[in-house]
Amino acid sequence: MASATVTEVETTTIPIFVMGKKYDVPETLTIMKAMEYAGYQYIRGCGCRGGICGACATVYRKAGDYKIYTGLACQTVVEPEMYLTQIPFYPANRASYDFETLDPTPESIFKLYPELFRCVACNACSKVCPMDVEVLDYVSALKRGDIAAATEISFDCIQCGLCTSRCMGEMAQYHIAQLARRLYGGKIAPKAEHLQKMCDNIAGGSFDEELAKLKTLGEDELKKIYTEREMEPAMSDEGWKPESSVGLA
């Protein structure tokens, strides 16, 4: 398969230790491709392979170094003498709730996740985050009741669970952040009124006739309308309006 791990290239190999066991792998590979090169076939611990799904959280140390390092296996290039393990799953407490009836208040969050206040501000969560999310900052924002700030700070979270694995307060930070973001997006941020209006117009059948007409047109007529349709200029601002009102409500 053409896009399989690249091995045809002459490369220097380096030793890495997968769960303590030594493999020599090309120095240019990511951890994920290095493990595949070594003979692993992933079932767990591999997802989008593009750094956004949170499946391949990896913890490693380097020889002679006491520090814990983390990264996504699909994004992190191997280093000589790295000792690694993936953490494809980590148990986490997630509260279940009825989103429809839940008040968008800090108290709702506190009630569902009282463990929020077990945070001792050790900052281990932020340190291990492979996305550089300031986890402690959003946890602190939530403790202050600032749902908007928590939404913003936690936005790049990929829910890999590494923060949870290190938390002295034993909370699942990323589930709490998910709740905060939903409350903000669904109940605190102002609603898009123009969207509701369009939905009402569609439900009222405003465009049915014009669309039905388009559907019956021959290809030539359709191409003509398509080619002649007015294009919103690339640099237009929100106030732009087309000259023709054809097809509009």
Partner: protein, 556 residues
């Protein structure tokens, strides 16, 4: 790894022409867009038009239809498990609606089916949410601004993008339900980018006549996926999620209705039966089949399983002869191969430049034209940039953006890509990116109707597994839309079928036995089994040393 000395030498040629190209851009002098006739000529270099890249199917309901060898390979294959070995009298689970696939389409379907009062099982090959949905960056289209836009214009754009081949009813359903899809997502708490009054920010995409691309920063798909997954989890009493449990066959009953599926536990290697009153296929696309050897932007699990299952059960396929190649995928460094470089770079002014440092195409042509132009430049005209791995690419000249819009623009507008390359000691504010087209989207799939039904009663399709909505080419921002719109439709209707129309009856896998026989009689299987379930990235030499291992397809 940073650029090699050889590549750094070649970058000097890009730098030599950059100032002049920037000046031309500032003067508004563009490489002319291709005319419709020139486009037609250029598309001959597109992989879809490569005769040797495809073959006619020898078996099944679409016999005679020519599609890519790699997809034909999984369709012209026998079942993973002999049908007579499966105990159909003893289901491990029974439910109203079985959803196969745990991405955006499957999850939307689960929520809507549950709201109809159905019990739902969602079976997914990897984790819930492991899907191309999660990876979509750009946005989601919908005509939400009535003073300038409507489903009428969205429809025209969809048809134009699809070269006027789309199934009109599917395109109509897509655009008419689009605003309500956004409203539904907003209601469930998706944080779309808005102004202070709640007005949704919208931008253009390739082929849109109005700015109707809604977005959530640059992780729109991930924000949608994690939000609706969270909602599905809230309904855990009614929605059971079976992870690492891909379906390997659909099960029919004596009335010819789809009535469940045989699932496979990837970890314990058991096969087991789920009996259901209706089934939704929401298995996504096929990027990991690496059509014509192309690298892909797709998720690890994108192996076209649902197409195999549906096809064996009698559902024809359409538009599968067209596959979308995103023009700009990373080709160097090797570790990041296939990763998508968003269209926004070209929108912001970055030229495509060949090995000589020359521009060869306007950077704002539609995706298929851009991809064809890059392939022509590299393969046919010998003007590609060679990578250390022996591949070819062209430069995407990101430093131009800094010169056009001011220093700091690249880092501000493209933080994700800046960091990605920085990890490899490549600074895209100063050095161009090396790119090549990458397999991105399966335009076609199983034939289905605008109410989600297929020709098999009780079997529904939603999302990338279905074909016809986008015709021969999908526009940016219409795939996230597709999965939400048709996921909701399939979920609601499959639940109604399960609760009101389904007839209980004896289960069978006769269609699988018959299909196996057809494949064997045609002599085309060549020992292949399908669905593939996972790609195979284990080194050949290692497989040769696995002396006591028996591979069934890609899995041992």
């Amino acid at each position: 790894m940073p650029y090699t000395p050889e590549l750094q030498e070649l970058i000097k040629k890009v730098e030599a022409t950059r100032a002049e190209r920037v000046e031309r851009k500032k003067r508004g002098e563009e490489v002319p867009f291709l005319s419709l006739d020139e486009r037609k000529e250029r598309l001959k270099f597109h992989p879809d038009f490569k005769e040797e890249g495809r073959r006619e199917l020898q078996v099944g309901p679409s016999k005679g239809y020519a599609i890519a060898h790699e997809i034909a390979d999984v369709l012209e294959a026998t079942s993973r498990v002999a049908p007579e070995k499966v105990d159909l009298s003893n289901p491990a689970y029974e439910t109203d609606v079985l959803i196969i696939g745990g991405g955006g389409a499957g999850t939307s379907a689960a929520i809507l089916a549950q709201e109809q009062g159905a019990k739902v099982i969602m079976a997914t090959k990897l984790r819930h949410g492991d899907a191309n949905t999660m990876m979509a960056e750009g946005g989601i289209q919908a005509a939400s601004k009535g003073e300038k836009d409507s489903p009428y214009y969205h429809y025209l754009d969809v048809l134009g993008g699809g070269h006027f081949t789309n199934v009109p009813e599917l395109a109509e359903a897509l655009v008419k339900n689009a605003p309500d899809a956004i409203r539904w997502l907003e209601h469930h708490g998706v944080n779309f980018t808005k102004d202070a009054d709640g007005k949704l920010m919208t931008i253009h995409g390739g082929g849109t006549s109005r700015k109707r691309m809604h977005y959530a920063a640059d992780i729109t798909g991930a924000e949608i996926m994690r939000t609706i997954r969270d909602e599905a989890r809230n309904r855990g009493d009614d929605i059971t999620v079976l992870e690492f449990a891909p379906a390997v066959e659909l099960v029919l009953n004596e009335h010819g209705h789809c009535a469940g599926a045989v699932l496979y536990n990837l970890e314990t290697e058991e096969y087991f039966l789920v009996k259901a009153k209706s089934v939704i296929l929401a298995t996504g696309g096929c990027g990991r089949l690496h059509i014509q050897g192309f690298m892909t932007t797709n998720h690890y699990g994108a192996t076209a399983d649902g197409i195999v299952l549906g096809y064996r059960a009698g559902v024809p396929v359409s538009f599968l002869h067209t596959v979308q190649y995103h023009p700009t995928g990373v080709v160097f460094p090797e570790q990041a191969e296939g990763i998508l470089i968003t269209e926004k770079f070209r929108g912001a002014g970055a030229n495509l430049v060949n090995v000589e440092g020359n521009q060869f195409v306007n950077e704002r042509e539609p995706r298929d034209i851009e991809a064809a132009s890059i392939i022509k430049e590299c393969v046919n005209d010998g003007l590609g940039v060679p990578t250390p791995a022996g591949r070819l690419g062209v430069w995407l000249d990101s430093p131009m953006i800094e010169m056009l819009d001011g220093e700091g623009t690249v880092k501000r507008e493209f933080p994700g890509k800046y960091i990605l390359f920085k990890r490899y000691d490549i600074d895209i504010t100063k050095e161009p990116m090396l790119i090549y087209p990458t397999l991105h989207y399966q335009n076609g799939g199983l034939e289905f109707e605008s109410d989600g039904t297929t020709c098999v009663p009780g079997l529904y399709a939603a999302g990338e597994v279905g074909g016809g909505i986008h015709g021969a080419n999908r526009l940016m921002g219409n795939s996230l839309l597709d999965i939400i719109v048709f996921g909701r439709i399939a979920g609601a209707n499959a639940a109604q079928f399960a609760l009101n129309a389904a007839q209980d009856g004896a289960l069978n896998l006769d269609h699988v036995a018959a299909y196996n026989k057809e494949v064997e009689d045609a002599g085309v299987a060549d020992g292949r089994v399908a669905p593939a379930l996972l790609p195979m990235y284990t080194d050949e030499r290692i497989r040769e040393r696995q002396l006591t291992t028996k591979y069934v397809g890609n899995i041992r």
